[in-house]
């Protein structure tokens, strides 16, 4: 069942175009990767999907409903959450206040308690640091908070922009294990990663974005093939 469908998306800032027709889909329970060099337009793509970057053309469907051009606060209510680049937790607020803000985007207000319990099970560190100021958490803990804050809205589609940024390898493994579990529980998970190998091994499909276009799409099997990945990443020459 396709939960997220992006069709021929063009977007940019002011007069500058950044995306030149990007298409992708993500289904229930699926994990999709997006990799590509700095400035490829990965964050812009996420921004265009969640409504913070203006669309030039193309459309975004969430579970069949056209959400193109809707406002971010309305999109999250329909079940699409973004864990933004650089986490963007509210460092001056406590951990529980950050999570409570995440509840704002829920459609179903009855399940709030259950949603909080679930993320506390998934990320126990957030329970022990419940009343601490979020800015005092370590980088890995902050990343967990950022993911948890998106999860309490019970998204059907979860977008994560470079969740591994600044984390040590063991913490990265930890975070990715949780993301796999989240996908298996039925959420469509789309991950942007600078470090391609982190996601290519896990994702059903990994799209290589370069200069605002999907240059190649790799399956898990393709990704094992180092040469293929490199070729996709750097263009046809393969270097």
């Amino acid at each position: 069942m396709t939960l997220l469908e992006v069709r021929d998306l063009r977007a940019g800032y002011g007069k500058v175009d950044v995306l030149f027709g990007v298409s992708l889909t993500a289904s229930k329970g699926e994990l999709i990767g997006i990799v590509g060099p700095n400035g490829a337009g990965k964050s812009t793509l996420f921004g265009a999907i969640v409504g913070t970057v203006g669309l030039r053309s193309g459309s975004v469907f969430l579970d069949g409903e056209d959400i193109s051009g809707k406002r971010p606060e309305d999109i999250v209510r329909r079940g699409l959450s973004l864990v933004p680049e650089g986490r963007q937790i509210f460092s001056g607020l406590s951990v529980i206040e950050n999570l409570t803000l995440g509840l704002t985007g829920r459609r179903d207000k009855h399940g709030e308690k259950g949603a909080l319990d679930r993320v506390h099970d998934l990320f126990p560190v957030l329970t022990t640091h419940r009343d601490h100021q979020a800015g005092m958490l370590s980088g890995g803990q902050q990343q967990q908070l950022a993911i948890a804050r998106a999860l309490v809205a019970d998204p059907r589609v979860l977008l994560l922009d470079e969740p591994s940024l600044g984390l040590s390898p063991t913490v990265v493994k930890d975070v990715f294990d949780r993301l796999i579990a989240i996908a298996q529980s039925g959420t469509a998970v789309v991950i942007v990663e600078q470090r391609a190998h982190l996601v290519t091994r896990l994702a059903e499909q990994t799209h290589v974005l370069r200069a605002g276009k999907v240059q190649a799409t790799l399956t898990k099997e393709d990704a094992a093939d180092e040469a293929k990945l490199t070729a996709a990443y750097f263009g046809n020459s393969g270097e």
Partner: protein, 290 residues
């Protein structure tokens, strides 16, 4: 002596409320709403024009009118400016301020309108041989109650949490589902209601309302939020309090030299800002830029 302290605390309290109203709107929009003055003014006119009504009715009306006016400002003038640079927004708010002053002049005339409002509060009473004005005590009680209520709203409620989150990062707050239009409108409505409280206290003290009635207090409250720290509501309120209290004390201390009260107050303000450029409660050390 005791009266001087009470006066200082009560004026400080009033300025704290005015600064809080400005700080709320600044927090969510990065807008220094100069036209806050005209919210105070319209609430004051409302009190004067309805002085024949029971006091409570008159007060409620002034809160409603000021809140509606704040809402209209947001809808008609500021909504389009969201995300513009702060200088643009400040200039527009000057424009709104002047425009409203002219409208008040057309409607109410340039000369002061006066009527005794809440005459019960103009007297004095004696405690242990010291004569105290009722107005100062009532003002202090009112300011404390409202400040506590605001503290509760901001620290303990969902709306308050959203206001704090939006003040630090509105874009991320929206990503989490915070409805921007609704939240900004709420901030304006609350700032309008606070303006009405400030108006009430001021009208009791000086029932001569003219089109520029709210200007002085707004300018001083702006000084207050800079002194206290624009990025924190607590700082704004504290700064407002300091400015009001210092001004009131200076008036007493300087005696005949009180024409220089403003000058001395600004000397104090400048010294505070030299020591703490981001304001007293600024959370972030100001980065070296030169």
């Amino acid at each position: 002596m005791i009266q001087a302290i009470l006066d200082a605390v009560s004026l400080g309290g009033v300025y704290a409320l005015a600064a809080l109203g400005l700080g709320l709107v600044f927090g969510v929009m990065r807008l220094v709403n100069f036209a806050h003055a005209e919210l105070i003014t319209v609430a004051s006119y409302t009190l004067v024009m309805t002085h024949q009504f029971p006091l409570v009715v008159s007060m409620v009306l002034s809160v409603v009118v000021a809140s509606l006016m704040a809402l209209l400002m947001e809808l008609l003038a500021y909504r389009r400016l969201r995300g513009s640079n702060p200088a643009t927004m400040l200039i527009v708010s000057f424009g709104v301020s002047v425009l409203l002053q002219k409208i008040y002049e057309l409607v109410f005339g340039a000369l002061p309108r006066s009527a005794s409002v809440a005459t019960g509060l103009t007297g004095t009473f004696t405690v242990g041989g010291v004569s105290i004005t009722t107005a100062s005590v009532v003002t202090i009680v009112l300011a404390v109650v409202i400040l506590l209520a605001m503290g509760y709203l901001i620290e303990r409620t969902k709306l308050g949490l959203q206001l704090r989150a939006a003040a630090s990062d509105f874009q991320t707050a929206r990503l989490l589902g915070v409805r921007s239009n609704r939240l900004i409108a709420s901030a304006f409505v609350i700032s309008g209601a606070l303006a009405a409280v400030v108006a009430f206290v001021n009208v009791v003290g000086n029932p001569q309302v003219d089109p520029r009635f709210g200007l002085d207090i707004t300018i001083l409250a702006l000084v207050g939020i800079v002194v206290g720290g624009m990025n924190s509501l607590r700082g704004s309120a504290l700064g407002g309090f300091i400015v009001g209290a210092v001004l009131s004390l200076l008036n007493v201390i300087l005696g005949n030299g009180r024409v220089y009260a403003y000058s001395w107050m600004f000397v104090i303000v400048i010294v505070i800002l030299l020591v703490r450029p981001g304001g007293i409660l600024s959370k972030f050390a100001t980065k070296e830029r030169v």
